[in-house]
Symmetry: C2
Subunit: 400 residues, 2 copies
C-alpha cells in the first residue's frame, strides 16, 4: 500500500477527526498543516527547522520543480527527499493551480494544457499523464490528480465542463499510475480532487464520479479562491459529507488559523497554505492572541517573545524588539525567525486540534482558541496591529 490511513478518534459533537497516515516516509498525524516548499525549500527554512517545528509532511509545487531544476534533474539527484534533505513525507500538487495562476497564454483542451513558463516564456504542454509521471520523477509520497480549476464566479456551463474534464483527467491519471506500476514505479499514493466551484450540485456530480475511483484520498479543490468564506465552508461541509470516512481529506490552499479550525470541525484532515510563511517574511505573524505586525514601533523595546504562549526556537530566544530590529534593518534572519514561528504555530494548532479530538473536548478547544485568537492580548491595538481574522490578505503576489 502506498498509504494507509487510520482514524484514531472522531469528535461526537462535530465532524472533527484525529487520524494518522502512514506514508513511505513516515507517519503523518492528522489534522495536519503542511508547510509549503515551493521550489524545494520552505522559504528561508532548512529541514532541521521544519523538524523542530513538528512538521512530518511538506507540500512541494510540481509546476515550479518541473520548470526548475526539472523533474529529470531531481530524479537524477535521488528524488526530492534526498535533493532537499528532507526525510519526512512529501505531498506534491498537480501543477494545475500554478499553471492557472502563474503561467502565461494557457490553452486548456481535453488532451491537456498548453502554457508558457512564467520564468522564460518557454512553451510547454502537460497532459494528466505527464503530471503523474513528473510527480513520480520527483519521488513524492502523495501525488495529486491533474485537475482543471475555473475562476470564480464562472458561468455554470464552464463549471460543468471543468468537472467533466477533471473526471476524465482523474481517470487517466490513475491509469498512468497503473502503467508506471507495471514498470516498477508509481509507488506513490494518489489523491483525487473534487471540483465544481461553489455549485453544490456540480461538486456532488463530480464526486459521484471521483468517489468511484480507487484514490488513496480526496481533496477539496477550487475553494478559498475569492468567494465568500461562508459559502466555502458550506462546500467543505457538503464535500466532507460525501467523502468516505476511511480516506484522508485535504483542503487545498487553506492556512488561516480560524479557517483551518473551522474546516477541521467539518471533517478535513490536511491543510496547506503559503499564507503563514509569506506573511512571516513580510513581518506579520499569527500568535495565539491574533495577528502581530512585527515592525510596529510599539515593539521597539518590547522584551517579550512574539508569542508568550509559544515554545518555538524563535519565541524561546528572541524578543519582539530584536525581531523588529531585524525587519527594520532588512536583515534576512528576521524573515527566517518569523517563518520558524509561523510554521510552528500552524503545525501546533493542528496538533492541538488533534489532541482535543482524542481527548473528546474539541468543542471547548475550538471555543477557547477562537476567544483567545480574537482577544488581541499582548498585541498593540492599532490599525496595523489589529487582530482581525481576515483570511484574504497577502495572498496575491510572490511566486509560490
Amino acid at each position: 500500500m502506498a498509504l494507509t490511513f487510520k482514524l484514531d478518534a472522531r469528535d461526537t459533537e462535530t465532524e472533527a477527526r484525529a487520524g494518522r497516515m502512514l506514508t513511505r516516509h513516515g507517519e503523518v498525524l492528522t489534522p495536519a498543516f503542511m508547510p509549503v516548499g515551493t521550489q524545494g525549500t520552505v522559504k528561508t527554512l532548512a529541514p532541521d527547522d521544519l523538524t523542530a517545528a513538528g512538521a512530518d509532511i511538506l507540500l512541494a509545487n510540481t509546476y515550479h520543480l518541473y520548470l526548475r531544476p526539472g523533474a529529470e534533474t531531481v530524479r537524477e539527484m535521488g528524488g526530492l527527499h534526498r535533493f532537499m534533505s528532507w526525510s519526512g513525507a512529501i505531498l506534491t500538487d498537480s501543477g494545475g493551480f500554478q499553471i492557472l495562476s502563474l503561467a502565461d497564454l494557457r490553452k486548456v483542451g481535453d488532451r491537456g494544457v498548453e502554457f508558457r513558463s512564467h520564468l522564460d516564456g518557454s512553451r510547454h504542454f502537460i497532459t494528466p499523464e505527464d503530471a503523474i509521471r513528473i510527480q513520480d520523477d520527483l519521488g513524492t509520497d502523495i501525488a495529486m490528480s491533474f485537475d482543471e480549476l475555473v475562476e470564480l464566479p464562472s458561468p455554470i456551463d464552464v463549471v460543468r465542463r471543468s468537472v467533466d474534464r477533471t473526471l476524465d483527467w482523474a481517470s487517466r491519471g490513475l491509469s498512468e499510475r497503473e502503467r508506471l506500476r507495471h514498470q516498477g514505479r508509481g509507488e506513490m499514493a494518489l489523491f483525487g480532487i473534487n471540483q465544481g466551484g461553489v455549485e453544490g450540485a456540480e461538486r456532488e456530480r463530480c464526486f459521484e464520479g471521483l468517489g468511484a475511483m480507487p484514490f488513496d484520498g480526496f481533496a477539496l479543490g477550487g475553494l478559498w479562491v475569492g468567494e465568500s468564506r461562508s459559502l466555502s465552508l458550506e462546500m467543505v461541509e457538503r464535500d466532507c459529507a460525501m467523502f468516505p470516512k476511511e480516506r484522508p481529506r485535504y483542503l487545498m490552499g487553506v492556512g488561516h488559523p480560524v479557517d483551518m479550525i473551522d474546516a477541521v470541525a467539518r471533517g478535513v484532515d490536511l491543510f496547506d497554505c503559503v499564507l503563514p510563511t509569506r506573511n512571516a517574511r513580510r513581518g506579520t505573524v499569527f500568535i495565539s492572541t491574533g495577528r502581530l505586525v512585527v515592525k510596529n514601533a510599539a515593539y521597539a523595546r518590547d522584551p517579550r517573545p512574539l508569542d508568550p504562549d509559544c515554545d518555538c526556537p524563535t519565541c524561546r530566544r528572541f524578543s519582539r524588539a530584536y525581531l523588529r530590529h531585524l525587519f527594520v534593518s532588512g536583515e534576512l534572519l528576521g524573515m527566517r525567525l518569523a517563518s520558524v514561528h509561523a510554521v510552528t504555530q500552524m503545525i501546533r494548532l493542528a496538533r492541538d486540534a488533534r489532541r482535543a479530538v482524542l481527548e473528546g473536548n474539541f468543542r471547548a478547544f475550538r471555543a477557547g482558541f477562537l476567544e483567545k485568537f480574537r482577544s488581541g492580548e499582548t498585541l498593540i491595538r492599532s490599525g496595523a496591529g489589529s487582530a482581525s481574522p481576515s483570511t484574504t490578505e497577502d495572498t496575491t503576489d510572490d511566486v509560490e
Copy 2:
C-alpha cells in the same frame, strides 16, 4: 581583569602563535576568525549556526548599532549578547571605519567626527569618549579605540596628522573607560589601533605612543584598504615585531584564507572580515581547493557537497546541485547554507593553524594548505570558477 591572554605555543620557524583569550563571555582560542555581525546578526545566520560553525567570538559594528536600533535600546534590552541571543564573546569596532566608508559629509576635527547617517541623513557628532560609552552600552567584551583612518595613498602630512589624532583619541578613550569604571561600568577590554598607513616610520611612531598605554590588546589598522598585498604584509611583519608578545594582536578587515594564514605566520592572532559571508550570499565560497562559484551550470547535477573535505552542516547534507538550484531560483536558503559553509571554513582554517602551531608543524601545514588551495581540484575550471586567490574582489558594496 577584563581580558587575560595566554600563549600556549609559538612556532619556532615563523612568528605564528597559539593562544587563548579569556573574556567575560568565555574563552577564545587563537588564531581566531571572527564572523561579522554587522547589525546584531551575522547575515542570514542564527546564533546556533555560529556555535555549530565553531565560533567563540563575533564582531559587531558600533556605527550600525548606534544608528539602529540605538545603543540605548540595546542596553535596555540587556545588552547585545542578550539582544541577539549570543552567549559567546563579542568584539565591537569603534565605528571609525564605517564613518569613513559609509557616512556622508564627514568633518573630522580634534574633538571628534561630525557626520550624517547613511540611513536618514541625520546629523551626529561622535567623540572618542562617545565611542567608548557606546560600546559599553552595547555590553561588548572587547572594545576598540576610536581612530582616524586615512585613505591610501595620502600625503605624508595627512598620515602624520592622523597618527597624532589616533594617539590623542587612544589616550582619551582609555581615560573614558577609567571614568566609567569609577561608576561601576566599563568592564570591557579595550584594544588600541596602530595607524600610519603603509608608512613604516609613522606606524613605528604611532606604536611608540600606543605601546606605552595600558591597552589589553593591539590592532593593526588601516591595512588591506587598497594598497598592495606585499606592502600590507610587510607592515604586518613590522607591527608584530613591535607589539608585545603577551597581548593579542588583531588584523582588522582581513578574511581571505591565504591572507589570514600569511598574517598568522607573521604573528597575528585575530581576524575579521565580511568577505566570506558577503561572497557566500552572492554564491561564491572558498573551499579547501579554491574558489567555487555555486551558480556555475556545470554544478547543476553535481551530487558532491560544496567542499568534499568539509563537515559543516551544509556540506554534510546538501549537494552542489541543490545549492545551485537555490541560488538560481533566488531562494534565501541558498545564502544561508552558503554562509554556514563560509563561516565554518574560515573558523576551521584558523583552528587548524592553531593546531599546527601546537603540534610544531605550522610550516608544513601552511605549505600544504596553499598547495591544496591553489590546486582547483573538484572545481570547474572556467573563468568564473577559477581558483585565483584574489583578495580584493567583492569588497565594495553592501552595508557592513
